[in-house]
Amino acid sequence: MNIKAPDAPNKSEQPLIAGNLTFHDVTEKISGVVESGTPRLWYALISITGLLSLMFFIMLGHLFFTGIGIWGLQIPVGWGFDITNFVFWVGIGHAGTLISAILFLLRQRWRTSINRFAEAMTIFAVICAGIFPAIHVGRPWLLFYVFPVPNQMSIWPNFRSPLLWDFFAVGTYFTCSLLFWYLGMVPDLATIRNRAKNRIKKIIYGIFALGWRGGNRQWRHYELAYLLLAGISTPLVLSVHSVVSTDFSVSILPGWHSTIFPPYFVAGAIFSGFAMVLTLAIIARKVFKLDNYITLNHLDKMNKIILVTGLMVSYSYVVEFFMAWYSGNLYERFTFWSRATGPYAWAFWIMFFCNVVVPQIFWSKRFRAHIAVMFVASILINVGMWFERYVIIVSSLSQDFLPSSWQYFKPTIYDIGMLIGSFGIFLTLFLLFVRFLPMVAMSEVKAVLPQANVHHQGPEAIELETGNVRG
């Protein structure tokens, strides 16, 4: 075999972690965030997010006491902000799972810098999501009807109801994501345990590190388990939001009943999830000075994924509108025409601008590397994706088959307050995470450093740091 390949430089193969860091640098940097004193800014932020969470729970108390009439719900709009928020938050989670599972199986090693906090984001988003279906039922003490309760209770769960499937889908999703996140963190928790100077810290991190010693056998089992969990989580990326989409698409309501809903919802979920990862990554990068870990190369790749999934979402819009016309069905045609021109047209055009127009800027390499631009874009995209669910849910419901019952949906202060409050909960959890847990996967990042390659012959000697070098 004689392949004559010119030694052309390949742009894509620049080092994933910049700054020529050593293994020790990585440990110092990431553990340092957890070990150093708490910055004032953190207290300021968590006070705000904590207050927002508190507002959420106060409103929740009022909701339980009074009933879901405090929201703007009416007949026929029986689902409003509650289910919009649910779908929005479940969707956010999907990027974390895609990064941790699918990108792992696709050997995308750049994922190591962002997977830990993306996974954390997944878990917190699913927690926020789970609240809404639970509280939207009106009589929350009967919520257990959707659980697969044993027959002895004389309750026969309706297995044909998408709401029950939601319970299974989101429950599985939460469990697997939590396990995956935790398992991946064990070696890093052991690092923090080893470095802990304070006895209480040593005990607490020690308990969660599960006796990790970094031995060869432990690594072998760890990597096998990681691969298996990645394999199990991969179908979840598709299945969870597909099941969520059936909440709508199994019905006969125009605008809800569409066969493209499952893949369309999945694409939208990854789209909004990546936008959220980007928002958080840009902030974390700035605040904790993680420029060497989350490089412009990482941001460029994330922006490309946002562009691709944004185009998938746009594709679905086009196909849905075309098919509404092509169906020749009066109701389908009306619903879609009304979305763009009717009482909720303002929401539709916000959605259209944010989800279709905004991501197009990422065709340009310059904008894919422009922090301020992508930060604004990432926020706009999440605004757009929230409105997408709002348009689907509210516009289809409010103009149903019986024009005499049409009335405009007006959210109340409680609708808006609980939406903002759910952001409070999400951000509070996230702040706790960055304070107490390693937000970048140290052991995985070390594995993608050039020094980890056995053929690496750089000037730096390979530094072995007991318990922290992979494999």
Binding site: K4, A5, S251, I252, S258, T259, P263, Y315, V319
Partner: protein
């Protein structure tokens, strides 16, 4: 026999396979002519099925090539020329679309004015579903595919003569908007050519459904061709077991993806139970039950169970059988989509279906083989060729 030059990665004196394919093609064409004479309607449906089969493989090749460029992939460099040759069959298939234009009247009932006049639903759609616009759209779809395929292929061949960074950039630049154009053209071609056979029926997922089968069959085709070459002793150093492992993973993944889309489409229509949508499945359940079940088990369950294990993906005999099987199932799937619009029962006039498959298939393979033999089998100047050959899967 084929002769292979180790240092240039070229096949030479390959004529035998090409000749054999051409012979089969002509025999098939003769059968087609007989079918045309005996049962004209059936011939056009058979032709459309066979055409869709080979076309979707070519489109899958185009997609895989563009995906390769866009993701900057290393592992698939050794497969790149194969997927490029697969995509180039679109050039030949563009000509073979002419008989479908000739058969519009036999295939699509929306093309008859008197039927449309008496059908309020079709009247609503006549702005889109009419012969003139149908042909214009077809020319646009095919034109876009040819533009993309030729552009990518030309640059790729230029790279064989001498490497320049600009070539890689150009292929990427073409692939990015190419993907977008591909998504819309394939979707609307699927709506026009296949979904409108039953012009009352509609499903938003139909384009994705055809795409999923298209990519799966293209991957199966590439797997099959490379394994057959390997058995003759060619390219074994370059396309290693690791590549087959990766191809196996992709075959598995897209088997699941196909099953996901097919199930989602069926399930949502079944659940909502709106008669104008369920009729499409009802016809396929009443008249085509064995085929429907064959698709459920053959297109999803069997490949899912077989390809899930690591051992199977690294066993070339298993991979070869699965590649052939998936290609067969792809044809069954398209037959199941097309034929119920023509006859209530399956396998009537099967000989015409087979003749059309052999006719289009033989000629397409002859064309494919000419491409294979005229250029190196791998992109010899791709800077990542060595890295690709040294792939370690897992």
């Amino acid at each position: 026999m084929m002769d292979f030059r180790e240092n240039t990665f070229r096949l030479s004196s390959d004529r035998n396979f090409g000749k054999a394919a051409l012979m089969v093609g002509f025999v098939g064409l003769a059968g087609c002519i007989a079918g045309f004479a005996i049962d004209r309607d059936h011939f056009f449906f058979s032709y459309l099925t066979a055409y869709a089969f080979w076309l979707t493989i070519g489109l899958g090749g185009l997609f895989f090539t563009m995906l390769h460029h866009l993701t900057n992939a290393t592992w698939s460099v050794v497969l790149r020329r194969f997927s490029e040759n697969v995509m180039m069959v679109l050039l030949f298939l563009a000509i073979l679309f002419i008989p479908i234009i000739a058969g519009i009247g036999n295939l699509y009932h929306w093309s008859h004015h008197e039927i449309v006049a008496g059908d309020p639903v079709l009247k609503e759609k006549s702005l889109y579903l009419n012969t003139g616009f149908f042909i214009i759209r077809a020319v646009i779809y095919v034109g876009i595919w040819l533009f993309l395929a030729r552009g990518l292929y030309k640059t790729s061949l230029a790279q064989d003569k001498g490497y320049a960074e600009s070539q890689t950039e150009r292929m990427k630049k073409l692939s990015a908007p190419g993907m977008l154009l591909f998504a819309f053209t394939v979707t609307f071609a699927a709506f026009d050519w296949l979904m409108s056979l039953d012009a009352h029926w509609y499903s938003t997922a139909f384009g994705v459904y055809i795409f999923s089968g298209s990519l799966l069959s293209a991957l199966a085709f590439i797997t099959l061709v490379t394994i057959l070459l390997r058995q003759k002793g060619y390219l074994a150093d370059l396309i290693t077991l690791e590549h087959y492992h990766d191809l196996g993973k992709l075959l598995f993944a897209f088997t699941v993806f196909w099953g996901y889309i097919a199930f989602a489409q069926y399930f949502l229509i079944w659940y909502a139970n709106i008669p104008e949508e369920t009729i499409w499945y009802r016809v396929r359940w009443l008249g085509y039950r064995p085929l429907t079940l064959l698709i459920v088990f053959g297109h999803f369950v069997i490949p899912f169970v077989v390809l899930i294990s690591r051992g199977a993906k690294r066993n070339l005999t298993v991979m070869k059988i699965m590649a052939v099987w998936l290609l067969f199932m792809h044809w069954v799937d398209l037959y199941w989509v097309v034929m119920p619009s023509h006859s209530d029962r399956p396998l009537v006039g099967l000989w015409i279906d087979i003749a059309a498959m052999l006719g289009i298939g033989g000629l397409t393979l002859w064309f494919f083989w000419r491409r294979m033999a005229s250029q190196p089998l791998v992109p010899v100047n791709d800077p990542r060729l060595t890295a690709s050959a040294q792939l370690i899967s897992d």
